[in-house]
Amino acid sequence: MSKYLQVFKISFQQEFAYRLNFVMWRVRNVIQIFLVFYLWDAVFANPDRVVFGYDREKILTYVFGLLTVKALVLSARAMDIAGEISRGELSNYLLKPLNYFNYWITRDISSKALNLSFAIVETLILVIILKPPFFIQSNLLAILGFLVTISLAVFLFSLLLFIVSSLTFWMPEAGWGIHFLVTVVIVEFLSGALFPLDILPGSLQNALYFTPFPYLIFFPLQVYLGNIGGLEFIKGLSISVFWVVFLWFSMKAIWQKGLKEYQAYGR
């Protein structure tokens, strides 16, 4: 346990070693929120308007919730695994008495902790500047549901990252390309990180709910907003748990197969 604590500390310090890099990354997150905020602000220029089942208060809470939830779910260092495999640096870790998955989970937690603390400060500043109406959830069950779904989302994204990175065993040169396709393009749009998925036609939404993506951002935020409860919540939670279990076993199988393919190029 203590070795992972050290990994956490070192990883945390490492983020500060490239301070400008980190600050720029956070600036980018804030700029992206501006686009989404003003877009919905324009749609809900009339405060009494209800569109796609949202009023102004709920949609702007969704937008600000994105900052925090993205920091918690999508901030991760594990995308560096692809580079380590393709450069043969994985060998260094295979020789050490440490679990590679736990090592990266620890690094991810450190990244999430740092990003989350910045996201909270940024949210507070943006709330003061933009003065959006805010929906504060008072239902304890909804808050509890939100925390559970967020935890599942964190696992889900870590597993997705691991699987996507593992593909580098077979395509060492395509590591960043696969990440771009899956974690940048597909996850950004299909998780609800850019817009709430319920603006899409019903049939498309129904199909999407069977994939793991909505459970990363959209589902937890809907639970917080109180738009999902009862049977719908149970159904979503079950699908989310199914994906965590399925991806866990898939990741283990892919990783084991990948290790047999691994040739430590560049070492």
């Binding site: 400008l20 602000d41 796609f52 040169e173 771009f180 393009v185 749009f189």
Partner: protein, 270 residues
Amino acid sequence: MAGKFFNISKRLILYLRIWLTMSRNSFMIYLNQKKILAIFLTGKILRFSFFVAFLYFLVVGSESLAGYSVNQTLFFFLTFSLIDSISQFLFREVYRFRTLVVTGDLDLILVKPINTLFRVLMGGADVIDLITLPPLFFAVWYVGIRLDPSTLQVFLYLLMILNGLFLATAFHIAVLALGIVTLEIDNTIMIYRDVTNLGRLPIDIYREPLRGILTYLIPVGVMITLPAKAFMGLVTPVGVFISFGLGIVVLSASLKVWGFALKKYSSASS
């Protein structure tokens, strides 16, 4: 006079030939990695399609966006994509500039008998963006004719697109200059892209002071929104003339900044 004109033409042809050679080399690198090319191309097409679908469903569901119809909103996005793709096609080399500075390999370019800025700005045209350009031109035309523009509006649009490209060039030069001074380029170029992404939608949707910043300070509005507005007949020829002036001033300023930054280059690590 004729001799001077002849010399300039000769020089332009020489640089065109150098650019074609550098682009051919860059394309060959991409084409040798067909899997990677396919993955990035798929990613770009998906991202574009997702955003078009999102805008379509959003504006249809909410009836209009800041007073603009579905076709008008899509035209703003297509104009953004057009300027973005052309500048990425031309200036992809900027994304590789940091390595040259931190390793000192920029020395090898500085000693060559071609303009350094030309080499680091346009030395690696992106074949993926080149592939996406023809369908994008078609999409601009397809949505554009539904807005029923006059010949003057089309002419002003083309003029403003050219101005948008001037501004995009100026931004890329400024990023390169900043790269020499601060050694930081990866995030700077991404911030540039995030800021220009704000132009995916008409800047009318932003409130002050952001709208003012995007119009005058970081002229994303002039670069992206104004061409689309000119096409819709929402900009006067005087407005186009002023914007063009702004484009030329910003481009000249970026060249001055580049000259200043180059003097700060310390040839580290070499």
